[in-house]
Symmetry: C2
């Protein structure tokens, strides 16, 4: 029996958006879903109970960071990630590939794998598809990912082609290496922004066969229209009966783009990282709470928001905490941003079920279009 | 009608320890009480709800820090400290005096007050008894403190005498300046470690007349036996019918010393600050959770502790969070230490009521005497 099951509940008539149910050994996930990122086995500033309270259904943890510290064998000895961090719902781990390339300056790729230096102590390390799978089996997430290369943007056509081919060979090795039956291993499609490479990578990955497919290598700096084209190609080729995961994405705008093309799963550090810098997502647009104009503002961050922060604290107080670098500041802003992202996904699911997805898109994105702060990177 | 009332509930037969009830405009406080420190209108890493959950009855906020940022007038405009930080129980503010002397290198004391430079931006500032009271009235705590000088240790007899005399004159000015009837203004006794100066300062302060008295200028580096002598002198002179507050103290050992001499109120950054460094108080003694021996330790920080952290997380996980500088690490350790301190005060109150105070002292301090880590500073 496969580790996960996926069923589509409803489909939008005007787009390829759909709602569904993804069942893992740790419960049911309603899709489309946003997965908060808990890099080092903690979603920064939040407890597991708080994540449950705001409706997180699945979180992501980073194999690369946990491999370095405390070590996957330590986590295994302590009963796996769920028990280690006391999170009772689903977990997805990435393969470590993305961080090997983005965080380790000194890396050398061979057919066998990637040699790199630990950013913690400079020690020489080596990751292969087999080692990545073994680490992810030790960590024990419900969904684990194939070890892939995520090439930078821009990269030459030749490089992207060779990389996508190697990623496909690595995917085959990952599938062979994977033995735990209570985990689902997802394949990852690469190919940069080239339609033919994307299509080739998707077909090759599907041929190997996985219970779910991820779209990798997007949101790495390419113009927005290139991302949209790539999503359209993926949507044509990926089997509609299986869950689709758009990795490392993103913003409210990107959610709508992804969902329009049948994407079911998203993850991004955006809401948590920007929160700690005081940039807050609201129904009225972006708020930079460190702005001096909020010094004496007794209103909540957003008057239309029902989160813990907005129910209990003023802009003036949150600003004061952020200006004073207080831990409670990061807690309150993280809570708010994650609540906004998870609530947005709830609204997206409801709109698909009710046939009003396009109307919701218009309503949600309008305030973000005016100040246009979010559109700087791309489009 | 005075802003507070104080009633003694029970007295220990073998020591001068007593339990009592201190009622402020924001509720009843059982004494002896430990007041967590919320320097900048937040007890670092904790929400007000969490503080209530672990039994905090009153917290302390620092006038000096809030005067600098966000400014007492901003806090007043937002409805005062209680509303600003969403804390519904009692608050005490210090006078700012201690910080003016300890945090501002460049300060100049005159009879009028103290000129100093803001540590935030170097701007020239001036605090007087009248200004300190006005700031504290703007902040709106239930209990506020007279503006005093807390001399360093060691200091010459002549300096301590002149300083105590000036502090007494300032206390008179504070009392005159104080108009808010929903706040209680406490006097502060100084005099260093000299019995005659302490006695003089206490009598002078009592003569001015306050609803409560604080013992200042202790736990500033003097040997433990000098502190005990000073406490004994204070205990002889201070009126037993009014609450006594031992400022900036301290450790479990110091609580017992204070309570033995009839002290009712304590505050200290110790539990919160040491928590963020990974030093944890337990019934079994001090635990440095960053120690490598906890890497694979699946037990809670303390098996005899009932706090949220100990009920849900392993030493290995808390250590991992601390080694990774994760916010959740500071949250879990702060929760644990504050729980220990507040629970210790509950046990002290119960032991006084039940006549077993000395036995509890022996039981609690035994594990701290063996590693002797806590006794380095003094004794």
């Amino acid at each position: 029996m496969p580790a996960i099951s996926f069923n589509i509940r409803s489909e939008d008539r005007r787009t390829r958006a759909r709602t569904g149910s993804l069942v893992t050994p740790h419960g049911e996930i309603e899709t489309p879903v946003f997965m908060p990122v808990g890099t080092k086995a903690t979603v920064k500033a939040m407890t597991p109970e708080e994540l449950e309270e705001i409706g997180a259904q699945i979180i992501l943890a980073n194999t690369f960071h946990l491999y370095l510290r405390p070590g996957d064998e330590v986590v295994a000895e302590l009963g796996g990630l769920h028990r280690f961090m006391n999170w009772k719902r689903s977990i997805l781990t990435d393969s470590g590939g993305f961080q090997v390339f983005s965080l380790s300056k000194l890396n050398k790729i061979t057919e066998e794998g990637v040699a790199f230096r630990s950013p913690l102590d400079g020690s020489a390390l080596f990751l292969t598809p087999e080692i990545s799978v073994r680490i992810q089996e030790n960590l024990g997430a419900d969904i684990i990912m194939c070890f892939d290369e995520c090439p930078p943007y821009p990269a030459s056509y030749e490089y992207l082609k060779a990389s996508a081919e190697r990623t496909a060979r690595w995917a085959e090795r990952c599938k062979k290496a994977h033995v735990r039956e209570d985990q689902a291993l997802f394949g990852i499609v690469q190919g940069g922004v080239h339609a033919d490479l994307r299509a080739w990578s998707a077909r090759a990955t599907i041929e190997i066969g996985f219970p779910g497919y991820a779209i990798g290598g997007l949101s790495v700096g390419e113009p927005k229209n290139e991302m949209v084209s790539a999503l359209a190609v993926m949507d044509e080729i990926l089997p509609r009966s299986q869950p689709r995961y758009l990795m490392g994405v993103g913003t409210p705008e990107d959610f709508f783009l992804g969902v329009r093309h049948g994407v079911d799963m998203f993850d991004c550090v955006m809401p948590t990282r920007t929160a700690r810098n005081g940039r807050l997502y609201t129904n009225e647009g972006l708020v930079n709470i460190r702005n001096a104009c909020y010094t004496r503002d007794s209103r909540p961050i957003s008057e239309s928001c029902g989160c813990y922060t907005c129910r209990n604290y003023s802009r003036a107080y949150v600003r004061h905490l952020m200006m004073s670098n207080e831990i409670l500041g990061s807690r309150l802003t993280t809570w708010h941003n994650l609540f906004y992202f998870l609530d947005l996904m709830r609204r997206i699911r409801a709109s698909i079920d009710e046939g009003s997805f396009c109307e919701l898109e218009e309503e949600v994105l309008a305030p973000y279009r005016i100040p246009s702060k979010m559109e700087k990177n791309g489009k």
